[in-house]
């Protein structure tokens, strides 16, 4: 059980345990859907919803699950909430659901969701587990929105669909997968420099 003050459980997910910039987990949705800021933000929100709900359920039933079948149990719970998120997006935001494509159902194999269950929710009380999930989720939203904004800005001169730089000559490569790898590489490098200088 963790002995940190309760607010640290939330804050650590934003920076020191940021799933993208510090742990480099969940790269598949990160690289694939961040062609625009809106896509990044909605992917982050959907993932955070699944992560928080799963952490809630897992931390409640953590003493009932035999350790031999815990992975299968966690995966079932994750799959349930992914289905909820998928159907919700399809019903209420069909445009976003279409833009994200197969990556919404693929949240089920997002490794840091299962990771948080293994290292945190299955060992800690409910309140702390929810804070931890929200923190990591917020870190994910931050990373994906930042990545999506940069790629959208360079790829079309817009952020969230609003023109930022007038008559920008679009860099097509930023919308392509290569642009995702380049942007992520530079962002991780920048985060490492900040980490080094502030330590």
């Amino acid at each position: 059980m963790s002995r940190r003050p309760w607010y640290r459980e939330y804050l650590k997910g934003l920076w020191e345990e940021n799933p993208i910039f510090r742990m480099l987990l969940g790269m598949c949705p990160t690289l694939a859907v961040t062609t625009s800021a809106v896509n990044g933000l909605s992917m982050g929100l959907a993932t955070t919803f699944v992560l928080t709900s799963t952490s809630l359920v897992v931390s409640i039933i953590r003493k009932l699950v035999p350790s031999q079948v815990r992975i299968a149990t966690f995966t079932m719970i994750i799959a349930t909430f992914v289905t909820v998120a998928d159907l919700f997006l399809k019903a209420k935001f069909p445009a976003i659901s279409k833009a994200l494509g197969p990556y919404v159902p693929l949240i089920v194999v997002n490794c840091f969701i299962l990771g948080r269950q293994e290292v945190f929710a299955s060992k800690n009380p409910t309140g702390r587990s929810i804070l931890d999930a929200l923190g990591v989720g917020s870190g994910f939203i931050f990373a994906l929105t930042l990545l999506g904004s940069i790629r959208e800005l360079l790829g079309s001169g817009e952020v969230f669909g609003h023109e930022v730089i007038p008559s920008w000559h679009p860099w097509v490569v930023m919308i392509l997968p290569a642009g995702a790898f380049l942007t992520l590489g530079f962002l991780v490098a920048a985060m490492n420099i900040i980490e080094e200088r502030t330590r």
Binding site: W171, V172, V173, L176, A178, L182, G185
Partner: protein, 312 residues
């Protein structure tokens, strides 16, 4: 005594040949190609050359400051990257795009790996590949040589899409559309031979590269000369001369062993012919060299020579 006593790891070789000298040799051997390019494209070519050079040099200086390393401007490698980049870009490319290409070439192509000697890919080609992916329209807008700006297709594009062959003499002299480094095969050949004869580049790569292209290119031509270009056309058109003599011989990104260098040349040659004849693009020299750069560590690993009396 302080400062005069130098302790260094062996080998303690004193040789005339250092990075700066080799790079200077490359620049000198590029002069004929540049001269012909400037003659054909006038101030477009000069402006492009100036903006590429300015940008690669300043990006190199900035990267050294950011990495807190002594400046590596003196080894002239950034200057070579700038000149080579200018030679593989369309002469009418807006200067801001050339600027961006220079930044990408030096930072992404070289400095992020740890500077000269550590880079996996040829920096100038990384810059071009980035521009090609970022601005496909600007990067395929070619002009005919001459003082006036007239849009023209490159000989390879004419061949591929219209099956129209450009006279070989025009290709040799360079009176064709394309980028500076694509125009005059003869000027580049002179520079390339100088580079090889002076020992700045290994002859094995250009020989096996050009030889493979000529041999493989002649097979389809022997059966359907109306549809496929002749091996001479393959050799003289496009960026093959520049690529084979100046880019495929980059000592950093190509194999160290002799056998490996033959393998590099043959592999790149096969890729060029495949891309030119059956690929979606008219020219494949850039991707062939970049792809072979990527497998260079693998080639080096499997061609380690056996020492005398040793066992593999």
């Amino acid at each position: 005594m302080e400062g005069r006593l130098v302790v260094a790891v062996s080998p303690h070789i004193r040789a005339e040949m250092d990075t700066r000298r080799v790079m200077m040799g490359v620049i000198v051997s590029l002069v004929p190609g540049i001269a012909v390019g400037v003659w054909f494209f006038r101030w477009h070519a000069l402006a492009l050359l100036a903006s590429c050079l300015a940008e690669t040099l300043s990006a190199e200086a900035l990267a050294c400051i950011l990495r807190r390393k002594p400046s590596t401007l003196g080894d002239l490698s950034a200057a070579v990257t700038g000149v080579l980049l200018a030679m593989v870009l369309p002469p009418t490319l807006p200067f801001w795009a050339a600027f961006l290409g220079g930044v990408v070439a030096v930072t992404v192509g070289k400095q992020v790996f740890g500077g000269l000697g550590q880079n996996i890919f040829n920096p100038a080609l990384v810059g071009r590949a980035f521009l090609m992916a970022a601005f496909p329209v600007l990067m395929t807008r070619w002009v005919a040589p001459g003082p006036k700006v007239v849009t023209a297709a490159t000989p390879l594009a004419l061949m591929k899409f219209d099956h129209r062959a450009t006279p070989l003499l025009d290709l040799l002299v360079g009176k064709v559309g394309g980028c500076m480094g694509e125009t005059s095969a003869l000027a580049l050949l002179i520079g390339g031979l100088f580079l090889v004869l002076k020992g700045y580049a290994d002859w094995r790569i250009p020989l096996s590269y050009l030889g493979t292209v000529a041999m493989l290119g002649s097979i389809p031509w022997a059966f359907r000369p109306d549809l496929y270009p002749s091996p001479m056309f393959h050799l003289l058109a496009g960026g093959l001369m520049l690529g084979a003599w100046f880019m495929a011989t980059d000592p950093v990104t190509t194999p160290v062993t002799k056998v490996g260098r033959y393998m590099f040349g043959i592999g790149a040659g096969v890729l060029v012919v495949i891309i030119r004849l059956w690929g979606g693009l008219p020219e494949g020299v850039m991707y062939s060299i970049l792809l072979m750069n990527a497998v260079t560590p693998l080639i080096d690993r499997y061609t380690v020579p056996v020492p005398f009396g040793g066992k593999r």
